[in-house]
């Protein structure tokens, strides 16, 4: 099976899985004993108020109708309305997601870095006290509730030492990094002028095309000429259209929602340092808890690899031990680590809920917990669905990457 057909099969298999996930969430919120509206008001509201709420949220319709409306809404990116203030859940989730993403990326980096470093060290000194203590560390770290570790780090580094802030994502006195905002002015000559200076881009495309053709030894000059002319036209018109579109927007905002990246785009070192300072404790907490898995994985893989012949051969050729370990052996352990990163992503998101609550980090997990406290069941459903979709997407990407890197999977 080729890579392309593997990808097609994998994508097709994801569809029933996502449908199942969505149905599971729907069933949990609607069918498990406990009417969301009744629970929301804790049985303290009048019958009319509850009926009005049901009608407004469409909860008075029969279950199959609700189910198809829910699926249709998801297709349009609509996750329903909040029971609390009837605002669209999807808006709140989209604005909370970058914070979670930033935390997740940094925690994954911490987990993989700690895991590889300690795992390699442990495998180098098999059964020595160092190996035993690293293994013990991996097990203990697995057994710590994330929020307990978070609170301990908060207590030591934030409250006693004042090195890092205890809560939040950014200092309130500084404006949040918003990325680069470009104010564009419309060229005086209008579209014709845009078209004129866009032809420079067209020429660049033409030049690149010629170089590429020469590289490939295309000597049939009519064909080569036609292709290069086509490249010129495409480059020219595409650039002119894009430029005209953006110029007409008036302002252009380049931002990712990740404060570390946005402060770099903004070229503000102060904001960058502050966002790192706020990010450090939460990502250390989540990363350390996850690192146990990576330590054990790296250790066992390295133990197996270090016994193989090619490692002995490399050592015999007089290469340094570090070069052999990191350059030769670790490379073989990289594929399982990559797979584990994908597998651990679900755990990471679960852990993010607890970490965000501990550090008042304004992400998706915090949003979910807030909504639980408001008994806002439509928002809970929206957030859970969003989590499920992210995990399904990540699993898909990891599987495809894995198949790309390791051809054995495809067969």
């Amino acid at each position: 099976m080729g890579l392309r057909s593997y990808i097609v099969t994998r994508v097709l298999l994801t569809i029933p899985m996502i449908m199942l996930l969505l149905s599971i969430v729907f069933l949990i919120i609607r069918v498990i004993p406990g009417d969301p509206v009744l629970l929301h008001f804790e049985r303290k509201a009048s019958e009319e108020a509850m009926d009005a709420m049901r009608q407004r949220l469409g909860l008075d319709q029969p279950l199959p109708v609700q189910y198809f409306e829910y699926l249709g809404g998801l297709f349009r990116g609509d996750l329903g309305r909040s029971m609390q203030d009837f605002s669209p859940v999807s808006d709140q989730i989209y604005s909370a997601f970058p914070a979670t993403l930033e935390l997740a990326i940094c925690s994954m980096l911490v987990a993989v870095a700690v895991g590889i470093l300690l795992g390699v060290r442990a495998s180098q000194s098999y059964n020595s006290p160092q190996d035993q203590s690293i293994r013990a560390f991996a097990i203990v770290v697995y057994a710590i509730p994330i929020f307990f570790l978070g609170m301990i780090l908060q207590m030591i580094f934030a409250i006693n030492l004042h090195w890092f802030p205890a809560n939040g994502r950014f200092p309130p006195y500084l404006g949040e990094p918003r990325g680069l905002i470009l104010h564009l002015s419309r060229p005086a000559g209008g579209f014709v002028e845009t078209l004129a200076w866009s032809s420079i881009v067209g020429l660049v495309c033409w030049a690149f095309c010629i170089i590429a053709l020469r590289r490939r030894h295309v000597i049939f000059w009519v064909k080569g000429f036609l292709i290069s002319i086509l490249a010129f036209m495409v480059g020219w018109i595409a650039w002119a259209t894009l430029a005209w579109y953006f110029v007409n927007l008036g302002t252009l905002r380049i931002s990712t929602g990740l404060f570390t990246v946005d402060s770099l785009i903004e070229a503000s070192p102060l904001k960058f340092v502050e966002s790192i300072r706020y990010l450090l404790l939460p990502s250390l907490t989540l990363g350390l808890v996850l690192s146990g898995v990576f330590i054990r994985l790296t250790r066992s893989n390295m133990l197996e690899t270090l016994r193989l012949d090619f490692v002995t051969a490399a050592k015999a050729r007089g290469l340094k031990v570090t070069a052999v370990t990191y350059g030769y052996a670790l490379r073989n352990a990289f594929l399982p680590i990559l797979t584990m990163m994908g597998l651990q992503f679900a755990t990471l998101l679960g852990g993010a809920i607890l970490t965000e609550t501990t550090f008042s980090w304004p992400g998706l997990g915090r949003y979910l917990v807030d909504r639980i406290n408001f008994r806002d069941y439509t928002a809970i459903q929206g957030a859970v669905v969003y989590f499920a979709l992210i995990v399904a997407a990540v699993n898909l990407v990891v599987d495809i990457m894995y198949a790309y890197l390791d051809p054995r999977i495809r067969f």
């Binding site: 996930l21 629970l39 710590i144 929020f147 609170m151 006693n160 066992s300 679900a346």
Partner: protein, 296 residues
């Protein structure tokens, strides 16, 4: 008295089993240490109501100001409500242990039969069950547990159910992988050839051989269930103030953190870590004893 004798026999048998583990390297020691930690904690929790110096539910047993740091009268300090932390530590394990026990039981009762049946039968049933289980498995466990617990309301059984649903796929997967191997082994084939029915083969030949692996999954699962129960309590889906619970104490301690009241979070937190660690050690040790790998 015959009962005492048998009890003593069981006890000495257990001891000799445990002491024989010491000769099995680090895996044996891990199992012993884990079992010791878990045993002591369960013993403390059982005896808690009798040996705790104060009523763990009674508020303002210590004169204000509260929370007060550890002192002679209150060796582990008091919390915001003026409750004695030592008494709450001694009695606070029961919720977690109950929830973990029930959820593991629930997983076992649901996950193992489904795994046995579906993977032994094979065909379309296996494919469908596999897909459903994979979807559950891919779901972030804590998120699923939160969603179910939020809908079911408070209570030990509800909490155990919501945690149990999350971990059923782990049982299913281990059962399935083992059944698929055992099904093809000569002795299972021989049983089929003698005309044994499917049920007999599953219960007499397959199940006894996969029980050790299930036991490993179950002990590891205890640790996960305890941590998930603590997590559920932390996000506000716990049992509540009525019953002393480490998870509840720990999550309430978060509000006191800025005041520097370290004792309010440290002691319950350490107890949860110890309990989860004990089960993890047993699981790790058992799994290494059963499948020795990397023997050099």
């Amino acid at each position: 008295m015959p009962t005492v004798k048998t009890r003593r026999a069981i006890f000495s048998g257990l001891i000799s089993r445990l002491t024989s583990l010491t000769g099995r390297g680090s895996a044996g020691w891990m199992t012993i240490i884990g079992a010791a930690i878990v045993g002591v904690i369960i013993l403390l929790t059982l005896l808690g109501p009798w040996i705790s110096p104060y009523d763990p539910r009674a508020i303002n047993v210590s004169p204000p100001p509260n929370p007060s740091p550890p002192s002679g009268n209150f060796p582990l300090g008091t919390n915001l409500l003026g409750q004695d932390m030592l008494s709450r530590i001694l009695c606070g394990g029961s919720i977690m242990i109950q929830v973990a026990l029930l959820s593991v039981l629930f997983c076992f009762v649901i996950g193992v039969p489904i795994g046995l049946l579906a993977s032994y039968t094979g065909g379309a049933l296996d494919k469908v069950v596999n897909l459903v289980m994979d979807s559950f498995y891919a779901f972030p466990g804590l998120v699923l547990a939160i969603a179910i617990a939020a809908m079911m309301g408070r209570g030990v059984i509800n909490m155990a159910l919501s945690i149990g649903v999350v971990y059923i796929p782990s049982y299913y997967r281990i059962v399935r992988s083992q059944v698929l191997t055992i099904k093809e082994l000569p002795y299972a084939e021989a049983a089929r050839a003698t005309g044994a029915r499917g049920r007999t083969i599953l219960l007499r030949y397959v199940l006894p051989n996969i029980l050790p692996s299930i036991a490993v999954v179950a002990t590891m699962n205890f640790a996960d269930a305890i941590l998930t129960a603590a997590g559920l309590t932390f996000v506000g889906l716990g049992i509540g103030i009525e019953v002393p619970d480490w998870g509840w104490d720990l999550s309430k301690g978060r509000e006191l953190l800025p005041s520097g009241a370290w004792w309010v979070i440290t002691f319950p937190g350490v107890m949860i870590v110890l309990l989860a660690l004990g089960f993890t050690l047993i699981g790790e040790g058992l799994s290494e004893l059963l499948n020795p790998r990397l023997e050099k």
